[in-house]
Every structure is written in C-alpha cells, then in structure tokens.
C-alpha cells in the first residue's frame, strides 16, 4: 500500500522550489462486485467510519459511495461549530469524546483541519434561558467539561461588540461560556478523513448513488447503484438529510423529518470577533472565520423540504437578530447564503446502531448538530461494525428507543445550539 506524501511546511517549501506536484489526496477506482462493508454517504460520518474501520480495525475492503462529490452534503455546508456543552450526561460524554478526537485530528490525519478552540458563548435573554444554561453548566461540570455562566459585564469583556445594555428588545441577562468549543475548517475534516481512508485502502466512489438495497430474509445482501450492483454483508447508512429515503430502500422506517437549514457569510472584515456567539432566544449564531468573514446560522426552516434554495426571510431574520446583538455591524454585507438538509429526530438526538434488518446499520438523525460528532460517530460505528457490540457511548441512541418510549432529553439545549 502506498503511503501518502506527508504534509509539512518543509514539504511545501521543497515542492514550491522544485515545482514537484503533490500526489492525489485520494484516487478513483473501479467498483468491485463485492465489499466487506459498504458505507453510503461521503460526508464526515461516512468518511470517519471508513477511516476508523480501516485504521483501527483493519477492515479495508470497504467502499464508500457518494452520490455527488465528497462533502457535498451537510458536511460541506455546515457552520462547523464544535462543542460538547450538551444537556444530558449521555450527550455530553459522547460529544466530549468527539471534541477530544478533534483536538488531535490534524496530527492524526496529517491534515491541518484548523480546529480553532476560541470558545463558544451562548447568550441568555431570559430567566428561563439562564436556567437551562445553568442546567447545562452543571451537567457539563459533572462530566468534566469546561462550561460556566457569565454575567453581562463578563460577556462585554469577552465580546466587546455585543450590546449588553438594557436597550435591546431582548436584553442580555447572562451567558454560558464553553472555552474548549470553537470552529473547524469543515472541508478540511472531510478531506483529511478521505485522504486517510484512501491511504488505508478504502475505495471512495464519488458520483455513485445507491438506488436500491437488497434485503433477503431480513438480512442485507448488498446495494444497487447507478454504476451497478455491489454485494455486501454490511451496509452503513450515513446519509443525513436523505437518510430516511435510504432507510426506505431497505424497508426500515425511521422517525426523521428533513428540514433545510440555512447559513450565510459576509464579506471579510478585519478580525474582531474571537468567540462563537449564539443566541437561542434570537435564533441566530455567528462566528468569524480565519479568512475574516462572519458566518451566520439560525434554526431550521419553518417547514420540511428537500430543497436547498434558501430564502430572503432567513437573511432578514439573521440580520435583524445579529444587529440586535451587535448593532455596530449594520454596514457589513452578506456575500452568500446557502442551505443544507437536516435529518431531525423527535428528541434532537441521533439514531445510531442496528436496525430490524440484519447487517444494515444507521448513523443518522444528525439534524443541525452532527458535524461535531463526526469523529466519535465514526469511531463508535466502526467499533460496532467490527466487533458486533454496541459501544456504551452510543447505547442511548438506538432506534428502538422511539417504539419503546425512551426518548433522550436533548430537546432543551440542542434546538438552536448546533
């Protein structure tokens, strides 16, 4: 197996001088008639699962099928907020493992994913919001996660542009600060995993759409694609916004509704905003990338759809609410808006693990918050597929919980959190 050329400043300089090209980060392959594992979906979840299957469990006869280009789904269009200050202990533990993986991801993948732990600040505009924040802070601390309540003066110190006076319609009464949270260069995460998986022998097939799943006697036998059939005893569905459609191909019903989620960026300005700022009450969040643009997001669209066109109401709402928080930004201009699809579940928690169809696994229900979970989801799904045992970290997220009435209590914090 060919090891990829290592990325480093030295290599960059050397190739800059010699003009030598870098080798491809991944290669194109013919479809094999069968694989040990087929992963559907070339987002961070599918790619991380492929990577950990190969890297940690030595399972390399793996095909990852992506209908479009790698990262063309939610993974390529998300606002890349990473945090672990969730509400439930199971949620906090799970996301905290992901955050830990993110911290070493650049080194592990030899690909700078630019994880910027600049802190994540959620603003409260009401007592009840503050109460939920304290709830989160307390649960977080019990799980060893750094998370604390701030008062308006501390917030002003952290983010000078935020208006903490009593002038706004919804004055700020406090906030939840989570120092290890931050943003990451989302595409780099996708590419880093893709490159690592490819190096370990995983076949990444772009422009390859799954159009059917063969199930015989309750067992999955393979998939059909626009490029032909593939036999496989294990199929993992990592298709986020489209996941209920892929489940339906296998005859599996899932409690998922697909909603568009929009985002926008502004023209770049000089660095002035160091933390990620979120307001649940105003349904908006903002961060400044290393390139200087502000990236805005909000809650999902008010109605489900598979369309990703985006609306004026979204940018209007974001603008109104951002100016409520930071009135000095009025002259900043929105450069582009876009949308992605989110697979929302009734309890704002993912669905991970087995399904009634043997060999057909799901890693779905990632809604508006799944990018940060990519590493841990990949790690745990790979473990499940490789060992046949469900890792403790994801036990609470099984599909059966809905039929059995055991919903996870993340509703409180995840609604606009990302």
């Amino acid at each position: 197996m060919t090891r990829p050329a290592r990325y480093s400043a030295y290599g960059l300089a050397r190739r800059g001088l010699t003009g030598a090209a870098w080798p491809p980060a991944w290669r194109a392959h013919e479809l094999r008639p069968s694989y040990d594992v087929v992963i559907v979906g070339g987002g961070v979840h599918g790619l991380a699962t492929a990577h950990y299957l190969a890297a940690k469990h030595g399972i390399t006869n793996v095909a990852l099928l992506e209908r479009g280009y790698l990262g063309g789904g939610g993974s390529g269009r998300n606002t890349a907020i990473i945090r672990s200050n969730y509400l439930t202990p199971e949620g906090v533990r799970f996301y905290d493992r992901s955050l830990t993986l993110y911290e070493s991801l650049a080194a592990d993948l030899n690909f700078n994913v630019m994880f910027s732990q600049r802190g994540h600040l959620t603003l409260a505009h009401s007592d009840s919001a503050l109460r939920t924040m304290r709830w989160r802070a307390e649960v977080n601390k019990l799980q060893g996660v750094d998370s604390e309540l701030l008062d308006p003066a501390e917030i002003a110190g952290l983010v000078p542009h935020v208006d903490v006076s009593d002038q706004p319609r919804y004055p700020i009464v406090g906030g939840l600060f989570h120092p290890p949270g931050g943003i990451v260069r989302h595409d780099a995460v996708v590419w880093g995993y893709a490159r690592a998986a490819d190096a370990n022998g995983v076949h990444l097939h772009q422009d390859t759409e799954v159009v059917g799943i063969d199930v015989v006697d309750g067992r999955v036998r393979g998939v059909r694609t626009n490029r032909g059939p593939i036999a496989a005893p294990v199929v993992v569905n990592c298709t986020a916004g489209w996941s209920s459609l892929v489940c339906e191909l296998a005859g599996v019903e899932v409690p998922i509704t697909t909603y568009p989620l929009q985002a926008a960026v502004t023209e770049p300005v000089r660095p002035f905003l160091d933390t990620v700022v979120v307001s649940g009450t105003l349904h908006v969040y903002v961060s400044q990338t290393d390139r200087g643009e502000l990236v805005f997001g909000a809650s999902v669209d008010p109605y489900p759809s598979y369309s990703t066109r985006g609306s004026l109401e979204f940018t209007e709402g974001v603008a109104t609410h951002v100016l409520e928080l930071m009135p000095a930004l009025a002259k900043l201009r929105v450069l582009r808006q876009w949308a992605g699809l989110c697979d929302m579940t009734p309890d704002f928690s993912p669905i991970m693990g087995r399904t009634p169809v043997d060999g057909f696994y799901v890693d779905i229900g990632w809604g508006t918050y799944g990018f940060k979970a990519g590493p841990v989801a990949g790690e745990t799904m790979a473990e499940l597929v490789a060992t046949g045992t469900t890792p403790e970290l994801i036990a609470a997220f099984d599909l059966a919980r809905f039929a059995e009435g055991r919903l996870v209590g993340e509703r409180g914090a995840a609604a606009v959190g990302h």
Partner: protein, 78 residues
C-alpha cells in the same frame, strides 16, 4: 419563502402559515398498541415526493388546511 395558495385568501407568503405536520390518522385510542401509537407519534413519510400536509393559516383566515406539496421541489398542487 414559497407562496401557499389558501382556498380562502389566495396566494400568500408561507410566513403567514404555520406548518403543522404531515396529515395522518389518529389511531383508535382504545385499541392502539404501543407500536402503533408510537408510529403515529414519531414516524413520518418524509419522502421527496407529493405529500399531504396540514398547515394553519395563522395570520390569515385561521383555517387549518390540507396542502399537497412536493417536498423535493416545494411545488404546491392546486
């Protein structure tokens, strides 16, 4: 945001309406098994296809309306 044509009010911004959910029948409470009831609570078609939905024209005629919409294209059938 799309336009929805209300049978009473005509074409209006979707922002005047609340999306309620896919239309579905409530199981018979005296007979429903846990499986059926939770299916009613949580499972949805969610197909990228024509879907019958319940909408509420909140800022208009206040009627609850059935709208048949294509979830792939947002086209609404008259």
């Amino acid at each position: 945001m799309m336009l929805l044509t209300c049978p009473h009010c005509g074409a209006r911004d979707a922002g005047e309406f609340d999306y309620v959910g896919e239309r579905r029948d409530r199981p018979d409470v005296s007979r429903a098994t846990e499986q059926e009831w939770r299916g009613y609570l949580y499972l949805r078609g969610n197909r990228a296809d024509w879907t019958a939905e319940l909408w509420h024209h909140r800022a208009g005629c206040e009627r609850f309306l059935t709208v048949v919409r294509h979830l792939g294209t947002d086209e609404v059938r008259g």
